[in-house]
């Protein structure tokens, strides 16, 4: 048996393997609705599919990106109206290549990041229960509840800060509007650019629509007087439909991030 270590120059590009993708993009179709007129944010009855993660960018204005990082850090003021401390922290997270990202430790994909987390999500409308569930396939394989029964947010001592916070929702014509408070500070709320800062004062307003069958439209308004100088709105972005079932994904199953080969913590 031959054991051989060779170190070579990779002078050429390593082209992607020529393998077939399991599914083609589904044909264009209009926005689906339930019999009562509500927008259907999931598959057709008897069908399958989920919202795949996309490269959604949480930024007030367009900026040039290099993956999850600002191509030019001097563009930082185009991203959001940061308070000085929040800007410094965001830039630190960017400059250190997101090495401390809680997401890499399998923490909840909360805030706007839920809509860009790898392996996607499903939105399950349960009108008989007056709630909508957002099932995140990626990260910790967790779910978030949006109450649509008209209840208010808890206040004062009743607020228990959590990753997903407390969310209530209502429909404005074809758009689901979700209002959330009660977040903890143990997650980074964006994956692109990675490392956007928030505090437990975050008040998040999300507007979700389905302009056609294959597209989920997402827009977030960030109202966090602890981290920003004024409320601001991220540019809306689209999330593509994937016509296959979402997969089981428990990030904690064998997460070796930050560990060396022998399982010890990397220095």
């Amino acid at each position: 048996m031959r054991f051989l270590l060779t170190i070579v120059a990779l002078a050429g590009s390593l082209a992607a393997p020529a393998v077939a993708q399991p599914t083609a993009k589904p044909p264009a179709a209009p926005t689906p609705h339930w019999p009562d007129g509500r927008v259907n944010l999931g598959p057709l009855p008897g069908g399958k599919g989920h919202w795949n993660s996309g490269p959604g960018l949480l930024s007030e204005t367009p900026i040039k990106m290099n993956g999850a990082f600002l191509a030019d850090p001097s563009d930082v003021d185009k991203v959001a109206p940061f308070q000085p401390w929040a800007k410094a922290l965001f830039l630190y997270r960017q400059q250190t290549q997101a090495k401390d990202d809680p997401h890499s430790r399998c923490q909840g994909p909360a805030g706007p990041r839920q809509f860009t987390t790898p392996y996607g999500l499903e939105i399950v409308d349960q009108p008989e229960l007056k709630r909508i569930l957002i099932l995140s396939a990626g990260a910790g394989h967790s779910w978030r509840t949006i109450y649509t029964d008209g209840r208010s947010h808890p206040t004062g001592e009743d607020v228990n800060p959590t990753y997903y916070g407390h969310s209530v929702g209502h429909w404005e014509n074809e758009t689901l509007v979700i209002d959330s408070v009660g977040f903890n500070e143990r997650f980074w709320m964006s994956g692109r650019p990675v490392g956007m800062v928030h505090t437990d004062q975050l008040h998040l307003i999300e507007r979700i629509s389905r302009p056609d069958f294959n597209t989920l439209r997402y827009e977030a308004t960030i109202d966090d007087p602890g981290a920003y100088t004024r409320p601001w709105k991220g540019q809306a972005f689209n999330i593509p439909w994937s016509p296959v079932e979402s997969e089981e994904f428990f990030c904690t199953d064998n997460n070796r991030y930050g560990l060396q080969h022998d399982g010890s913590i990397a220095k």
């Binding site: 390593l14 393997p17 993708q21 997101a98 990030c251 080969h261 990397a266």
Partner: protein
């Protein structure tokens, strides 16, 4: 270590472009260095077909005969399946060649971008995508 030293030398010789970008649960550049490509050949000793990343391990013998066990990270099982893999694609004892990027922490770990088995090139659903 000699592997890393030699791997660094190869940086000047070529530019590595990874396979299909796949977003995963951590920043590639937080853990791996795309400018330090390495090519390894050896026998598979273990396969962890698990989330959030599939790992496999190979025994690699250097020019002095010393055997080192390397850990190679790939994408999640679901992402690999989209590139034609199954859970049985790699078996213990398989003789494979791997193109990968070295870990920044200096351990015997690398992020695979391509795996060659029996002359066939397989993707690795690497977490590398331009700039991250």
């Amino acid at each position: 270590m000699r592997f890393r030293a030699i791997g660094s030398m190869s940086v000047a010789l070529g530019m590595l472009l990874a396979s299909t970008p796949v977003s995963t649960h951590h920043s590639f550049s937080a853990e791996y260095d795309i400018t330090k490509p390495i090519k390894l050949q050896g026998l598979v000793t273990k396969v962890e077909w698990m989330n959030p990343h599939t790992y496999f391990y190979i025994n690699v013998k250097d020019e002095n005969g010393k055997v080192t066990n390397w850990a190679l990270e790939m994408g999640a099982p679901g992402a690999l399946q989209k590139q034609g893999w199954t859970r049985n694609t790699l078996q213990i004892g398989d003789d494979v060649t791997v193109e990968a990027s070295l870990a920044k922490d200096g351990s015997d770990k690398a992020n695979a971008s391509a795996v060659y088995k029996g002359g066939k090139k397989l993707g690795a659903a690497s977490s590398y995508s331009a700039g991250n």
